[in-house]
């Protein structure tokens, strides 16, 4: 494993990119040197910890990085947050609102960064958005068309943590379970604990279903932070070396 002390810096090769579907109008995807790495997983699966460590490591290795995540667009993030607080939007509306947030970041952050040769680390991507909607009964074909705008990443790592463990981590960090992460809007159960387990279980099943289509790497998230990070570094190192 390379460390910052080494002088040798791996220079990634320019590779052709493609969108999942129709893509973004008027955006020509030339061969870009940047790489798009996605880390997926439930709240409490360790995504942000892992991403922070990857940024340290990548920068140490001489790579410029940018981070994106859900609900971080300058266009609609505030409005989306407000709407979510009030819980007043219907499913299709929520779905399209999140898609707007995603598209804004894709066009204004991800694509320009990749063209400039950055490594873009995405704290969740379209898969979480799709899984959330699918669990809520939205049509998969409709979602695939919608997210046909998305760029295919170089790698997607799904941090898999059993729902029972997620509950424990959630309580270790906060004193309460999150309304949305417990899927309370779905009416599985009035009992938040029950609802959380049921919701996270169906999210995992949906991710497995999506994995068949999108082929992401499932990483066992129920290990030490360092063990997980070592696995991620190894895989990302291989991607940067063009293997």
């Amino acid at each position: 494993m390379k460390s910052p002390s080494q002088n040798h810096i791996v220079v990634p090769r320019r590779t052709p990119r493609r969108f999942y579907g129709h893509g973004i109008p008027k955006v020509e995807l030339d061969r870009v040197a940047g790489r798009l790495i996605v880390v997926e997983g439930a709240d409490g699966s360790g995504r942000s910890t892992q991403i922070a460590m990857l940024v340290q490591w990548l920068e140490g290795c001489g790579h410029a990085t940018t981070q994106v995540g859900l609900k971080r667009s300058s266009l609609v993030s505030e409005e989306l947050e407000q709407a979510q607080q009030g819980n007043i939007l219907s499913r299709t509306t929520f779905s399209l609102f999140y898609a707007t947030d995603f598209a804004d970041q894709l066009e204004n952050i991800i694509l320009p960064a990749l063209k400039a040769g950055f490594i873009v680390l995405a704290d969740r991507y379209i898969y979480t958005l799709m899984a959330r909607d699918m669990v809520r009964g939205m049509d998969e074909a409709w979602l695939k068309n919608l997210y046909g705008i998305a760029l295919e990443p170089d790698a997607v790592f799904y941090l898999n943590v059993p729902p029972e463990e997620l509950v424990q981590r959630s309580f270790a960090k906060n004193t309460a379970l999150d309304y949305w992460e417990s899927g309370m809007d779905l009416g599985f159960s009035r009992d938040m604990f029950d609802s959380f387990l049921k919701y996270q279980t169906s999210m995992q099943q949906t991710f497995r279903k999506l994995q068949a289509t999108y082929g992401f790497t499932i990483v066992d998230g129920n290990r030490s932070v360092d063990a997980i990070n070592a696995e991620l570094r190894k895989k990302i190192g291989a991607i940067l070396a063009g293997k």
């Binding site: 579907g21 129709h22 973004i24 109008p25 008027k26 300058s74 266009l75 609609v76 409005e79 989306l80 709407a83 007043i88 939007l89 219907s90 499913r91 299709t92 509306t93 779905s95 399209l96 609102f97 898609a99 707007t100 598209a103 804004d104 066009e107 204004n108 049509d139 409709w142 068309n145 919608l146 046909g148 705008i149």
Partner: protein, 254 residues
């Protein structure tokens, strides 16, 4: 995609489409008054009017943050909000729902802005088709004149300036509207538009609209169970300002 009648909704949706300045808003207003005065259950909905999404839309437009894709998605979000919260429940409740612009506006506009047609149509395929769609077809020159006479200041997005068609807003607006018209005409047969000659006088157009609706929809089914009040309600006074508003650009960005 099916119409609300085909989807077995008790309500019916009537949409008007046309270029800015085609007079469609005046026509749908007069249609609404006619239906209301008969004591029917009527609801009116405008494009781009959902309170929730409005803030984000106007911010995006003001700061010129929108691309073809986000422009399309944010309008789809607005439509979905109105559709799920107002249109569908009212159609379930047996209302005559009148829409000033419907999904065809997005089909035309987003495609002119460069979005793939199949993608845009896919976005909106959760929506039912109108039971009747009136298309107000004015000569391009006539509608341009109506707009340009009334409002010399064209806004960035309504003039299609984001598409870099021309550095002159008026020229850009003309090209943009011309392309919109092409898109509308190409959809006309596919979606059974009832094409109204919008170069005619207001009254003449309204007479045709009312006749067509009376022919195609059994209006007696849409009576309110009880009159809303024993006294006849006087129609709201329409100020000169309100009239002027109907002929200005309907997608004005506030």
């Amino acid at each position: 995609m099916k119409t609300f009648a085909q989807l077995n909704f008790p309500g019916r949706l009537i949409a008007v489409e046309g270029l800015d300045g085609s007079g469609k808003s005046t026509q749908i207003y007069l249609l609404k008054r006619w239906l209301e005065l008969q004591g029917l259950k009527v609801y009116f909905s405008e494009w781009n009017s959902s309170e929730l999404v409005k803030a984000a839309t106007s911010k995006g437009k003001k700061r010129e943050l929108l691309t073809a894709t986000t422009f399309s998605l944010i309008h789809a979000t607005d439509f979905a909000d109105r559709y799920e919260r107002h249109l569908v429940p009212l159609l379930r409740a047996g209302y005559l729902v009148l829409c000033d612009r419907y999904i065809f506006t997005a089909f035309a506009r987003d495609v002119v802005r460069g979005c793939p047609p199949e993608w845009v149509r896919g976005l909106y395929n959760f929506a039912g088709l109108p039971d009747l769609t009136f298309f107000f077809k004015a000569d391009l020159g006539v509608s341009l004149q109506r707009i340009l006479d009334g409002r010399p200041q064209l806004k960035y997005f309504e003039a299609g300036m984001d598409m870099r068609l021309s550095t002159d807003p008026y020229e850009s607006f003309r090209i943009f509207q011309g392309r919109m018209l092409e898109q509308y005409l190409a959809m006309s047969t596919e979606f059974d538009f009832l094409v109204i000659d919008a170069n005619q006088l207001v009254e003449k157009q309204q007479a045709i609209v009312r006749e067509l609706i009376a022919q195609k929809i059994d209006l007696t089914e849409f009576r309110r169970a009880e009159p809303p009040s024993s006294r006849p309600k006087s129609p709201p006074t329409r100020t000169v300002g309100a009239l002027a508003r109907t002929v200005k650009l309907e997608e004005a960005v506030e």
